[in-house]
């Protein structure tokens, strides 16, 4: 969903300053995400979208691009709604 990607992009822009992040761009390869920022990104996704990210979600590919984070959120929200 575009609004989710926009929210994530807005959050990441604080770290990436003037970089205009594309939906399929690898945020780790860009070099802006240190370990503290990676932890803050998880906290942001949880608070902003009301999901719980657990040990089973710890795969770099889940957080690599705006598209992959959006897909993770979609999966989490669908599974939470089903409970």
């Amino acid at each position: 969903m575009d609004f989710r990607k926009e929210k994530i992009k807005e959050f990441l822009s604080r770290l990436m300053r003037n970089h205009d992040l594309k939906d399929d761009e690898d945020i780790f390869a860009l070099g802006f995400i240190n370990s503290l920022a990676a932890l803050q990104l998880v906290q942001f996704l949880e608070k902003e979208f009301g999901v719980t990210i657990g040990d089973e979600d710890l795969e770099l590919d889940n957080f690599r691009t705006l598209n992959s984070m959006d897909e993770l959120l979609e999966r989490k929200l669908v599974s939470q709604a089903a409970v």
């Binding site: 240190n34 503290l36 920022a37 990676a38 932890l39 803050q40 906290q43 040990d55 710890l58």
Partner: protein
Amino acid sequence: MLMEEPGMRMELSGAQREARLRFREFVREHITPHAGQWDREERVPIGFIERLRENGYLGSPLSVDAGGGGLDAITYGLLTEELARGCSSVRSLLTVHDMVALAVWRWGSRELKTRVGTAAARAESLCALALTEPDVGSDAAGVQTEARAEGDGYVINGRKKWITYGQIADLFLTLVRCEGKLTAFLVPADAKGFARRPLRGIVGTRASLLAELEFNHCFVPASDLVGKIGFGLSHVVGTALDHGRYSVAWGAVGIAQACLDACLEYTSSRRQFGVELAQHQLVQRKLTNMITDTRAARLLCYRAGYLRQNGDPGAASETLVAKYFASKAAVRAANDSVQLHGANGLTEDYPVARYLRDARVTEIIEGSTQIQQISIAKNPPGEL
């Protein structure tokens, strides 16, 4: 123009004020009279740790569902400050136990949490963080301890050093290199191939029962993995360190407040040149700096605690700032305390020399002052 409702309140709730009084009374009765002796003997007694456990002070920031005390972030900070005001070695137990228990509950598998998580949250099992090594300190990503898959688990080889409460902890959150990636395991002290050796003669927080650990073909089941391979530092130990910085920041406020308490008493009773020390303007200058620093540090801790309580993603950055400022403020306060006490400040008859030794520790652990200077610039907090 209509008056708008003010949106900012900077005061503790009634429950938080009551809790602080309760913590203060506990420290005055059970810690302050003994802290000097524990420091000299290099040991917080096991019997006292049992008392901490009985009062629910260990594991207090974990949720009630997990088996913890369910303290909000601010009340937890107040507890940490009051404990450190009495004895930083006691504060360091609170810090390391809680940082590991929180990380296990945050990233451990359901099986691991069921097996050991509740005992950790209730402090029936004491936890310690096994991160630093003889040759690895600030560069945590450089750990040399290794784990390799074998059978239905992993075999760990390596050494860890400066492990707070390593002499008595039951569970060690251990950062290793596994498949070339940084990975965390929760290693029980009774694992085959695990050994520990007390470290003595430490200058600061010296009752913290430090140990050196050895993993000699130490086998752990795969279920002792915390998080996933490759996420040991960034997420698992990262979560622990984030909490540790918050706890140490409050602990530094506690030291600064203890310094202030000691100096206000000393300078109002000791007389030189015919008047109390506190009547001399250069003494007043030191007292004023101490008062201002302590209050500023506490306000930064309140701010970090407020964001942590709200689950704000900016909380970790704000915590870096609080830890950086508070630890430096504690060292300044302790230095001035020794100076104001003169020769008496260099003796064990007064607690200020211990405060100075303990304050120096807060500038080294959970990221040194120099590491914070790098981290804050790279992760600046948001607008107030």
